[in-house]
Symmetry: C2
Subunit: 331 residues, 2 copies
């Protein structure tokens, strides 16, 4: 079933059917006839032929590190919402945080396949940047800030400031930080900077020993880092964790060591995942607006596709602190 069948059945030319399908001039009479035939046959134009002809395919490539990570899934949820609204569909590239795969998809989408790309970045190498800058088609980086590329990023710095400030307000004097690799600018560098700056602002001493870098993002990584901290025998009464998951691991580890949260140590972190408000103790955490970030990235991309605006658009998402039991808040 193709356009010429429809044309024949409706007694018109293929050009007229094409116009009918693409809001061109068609007389009322023929319009009705064509509609009738299309309804009856259930015809849908071949998207590959349309793409070949027009160069547009109404597809958005979305490259993600891990779809089963809660923040990532929320972002994708936001993206699909906006993008489907403009009758685009999402081509999902799930890389498993494999850098090679990320680059591969970035290359693949650049040449082919999609009208635009959203890349949820974690560790940004020079190769990533170069590839993104070489893009002729619209691309938006989500979750990391880069000045030379359109991006939607989260306020990791302020999130860390708020989380640390909260510990200070709780009366903590010796505040530790479980951080992640600085190669991740957002979750690593920004959050650590916010932490350090806030300590300084409050004239609190910054002890090297109190900043421990986790090997990864899992609970186990958080627990291991906490154990390292405990082994140092340094005193601390508050801790800012780079992510909720790390915080859960850390608290678990403290519990095994007989340390009570928040009585002996207050805990804050970033992400405000579902679990944060269910965990015992309920975790004080900063919400980064992941879903809204996805919506915003989708909107900017749609804008780039439709308006072909040249200037690089950016957006920083707001964050919001939720104070809960882990910093002594009542239930």
């Amino acid at each position: 079933m193709n356009i010429s069948m429809i044309a024949k059945l409706a007694g018109v030319s293929t050009a007229t059917v094409s116009r009918y399908l693409n809001q061109g001039y068609v007389s009322e009479e023929k319009r009705l006839k064509i509609r009738e035939v299309i309804d009856r046959t259930g015809y849908m134009p071949s998207s590959s032929a349309q793409t070949l002809r027009t160069g547009r395919n109404n597809l958005i490539g979305v490259i993600v590190p891990k779809i089963s990570s809660e923040p990532v899934a929320k972002m994708v949820d936001g993206i699909t919402e906006v993008v489907n609204h403009s009758s685009y569909q999402v081509l999902l590239a799930n890389t498993g945080s494999n850098t090679e795969k990320e680059l591969e998809y970035l290359k693949m989408f650049r040449t082919n396949n999609v009208d635009g790309v959203i890349f949820i970045g974690t560790l940004m190498s020079k190769k990533h940047l170069a590839l993104m800058k070489s893009y002729k088609k619209p691309i938006v980086l989500l979750g990391q800030q880069e000045s030379e590329v359109p991006c939607v990023y989260y306020d990791d710095y302020d999130a860390a400031v708020q989380a640390t400030d909260c510990l200070v307000r709780c009366g903590c004097n010796n505040i530790a930080h479980l951080s992640v690799t600085l190669r991740d600018k957002a979750a690593g560098r920004e959050r650590r900077s916010g932490f350090i700056d806030t300590l300084q602002k409050n004239r609190l001493h910054i002890r090297e020993q109190l900043i421990v870098e986790c090997g990864g993002f899992s609970m186990e990584d958080g627990a291991v880092a906490m154990q390292k901290l405990l082994d140092c025998k340094v005193v601390f009464d508050g801790i800012f964790c780079a992510t909720d998951t790390i915080a859960f691991g850390a608290i678990d580890c403290m519990r095994r060591a007989g340390i009570h949260v928040p009585q002996q140590v207050c805990v804050t972190s970033v992400d405000n995942c579902q679990m944060a408000s269910l965990y015992d103790p309920r975790l004080t955490s900063v919400d980064l607006s992941h879903r809204t970030g996805g919506i915003e990235a989708g909107a900017i991309l749609m804008n780039m596709i439709h308006n072909e605006t040249k200037n690089i658009q950016n957006a920083k998402m707001p964050c919001h602190l939720y104070e809960r039991e882990s910093t002594g808040m009542d239930r």
Copy 2:
């Protein structure tokens, strides 16, 4: 940059380049020449042209109710793993559990766009079934069992049996069930049947009042249903919840009512989400192998696409009970 440019630069015909790209016969000499040109130019064939010509586009449509739901994300993770391995990509249709949208995507994918479809089903109407049966191209239903359609489903019945059995073993005599709508055969009907059959097998009385249907799948729905149960003033010492999320809501509600888990009431549920092992009390739950289900569905689909096998393939995923604090298990 297209195939004829490459052909010209390499001093061969387009057919030879095409053969090079599709494992056809090419002499070593020309092979090297073509490779050199392709490497130099970064050429990638136009997938829309390939699709138009061959009728295959290496795309799998995946229709999901909500990508930010943990079980769904796990299934999609499994699907992408298998499917990418066969150099297929995933076109994600996120419906927000909107039936109209589900049907719309089912129709859209039927005619166009993709080489195969995986549909993660919840509420299956006759329309869904009819549409799926009318498919000429490979389609796999995931998460629901239907005899006339290839499907990969979870052992919801046995999950309920194991969860209920566990409560019986804990010495519970008055066991309640927070269920969900029976229109969801898997999470509703099957789990309720498993529950009821297990009570009968153990010669325990089944009281209508002890089975409460939740209005939805959220924590709030679980809490509301539990409140209804408490309002009845019927005695119960164990409860089987249709999902973890409902269990969290129910436990929260009991806590507010001063009821202790597991001392006064034991709790079990299904899904074994991340939170289950972190919640206080750690939740006894049955794992359905969501990710493996996705892998299996992807494998069956790939098989259907490549072998064009006619017989309808099915697979039931195994489930596994994890006993934790909510049924009195030590930490």
